[in-house]
Symmetry: C2
Subunit: 181 residues, 2 copies
Amino acid sequence: MRKVVLGLGISLDGYIARPDGAVDFLFMPKDYSMGPFFATVDEAIMGRKTYEVGLKLGGGLRSPSRRWRCTFSLTRMPQETRRRSPSSTNPRKLSLRSFGKRSGKNIWLMGGGELARDFLKDDLVDELYIGIVPVLIRRRHPALPSGFPQREFTLLENKTFSKGMIALKYARTRKKPKRKM
Amino acid sequence: MRKVVLGLGISLDGYIARPDGAVDFLFMPKDYSMGPFFATVDEAIMGRKTYEVGLKLGGGLRSPSRRWRCTFSLTRMPQETRRRSPSSTNPRKLSLRSFGKRSGKNIWLMGGGELARDFLKDDLVDELYIGIVPVLIRRRHPALPSGFPQREFTLLENKTFSKGMIALKYARTRKKPKRKM
């Protein structure tokens, strides 16, 4: 079954962005590549704010490869955009649509925090793939806002890269059957 | 010079305690020992709330070895306690007192979050020693509340232990002279 992988770059104090949405504190070490991760996914899901930041950066609607699908959670989006990319804000519906489409590679839950929180609330996150950069940026946009129950994970991978960036991979530890959809 | 080491156990989402101060989600892997860390410190500094949680657990005033000093930040403490352990809430004064006493081992800044925030605000934290357990406990007591400027660190160590606990050691990356005291 396709997995939902929450993949995030965060500061050491757990934040994903500055107040204006800037992520300038994140960096990509020379010895690190997103390639192996990209090879495991063929769809990305992101929330409205992440989508808009992506648009500003000029890359929001393009996936690294044309073989990807990008899905957006479009609550409160302008009507014209909604027409272009009809979607939903309901994680179960979003996931169901994605899972239903076809089997195959995993789904990258890009964030932001609020969408991640909604997915965690519905226990739809199967793996975490977190890059931590060694900086404290103070409290701004938390990677994982409050509003979901405790979730246990199993550490699958812990790798260290240059400039002190670490990459952590966790799998959701579930005792009960996973999804009721 | 003695270093101030902020040593914390946190959840994967960066929290140090539940609403009631409980830290039941933290654990000590069998293959992990605090011994090597304890060997590098001979003084512990903690805030009032951490002190009180320690008292409840019955170990708040005892250091693992009799050779340690414990210092408390005693704002808003009952008068009788304050008489027993006179101290200050001002990080610079606390540190100055500790640094002035003698050279030797490092100082363990135990927390909690508010005291850590005050030390970070005054840029008195030299190293971070963080244990991350693989659980999301939702937003409760943040390990590092807001109120201090951005702080860069250099990763010194990243070790993986059983049950998915990772131990990270960071040193403060400073470009300017460190302390003005």
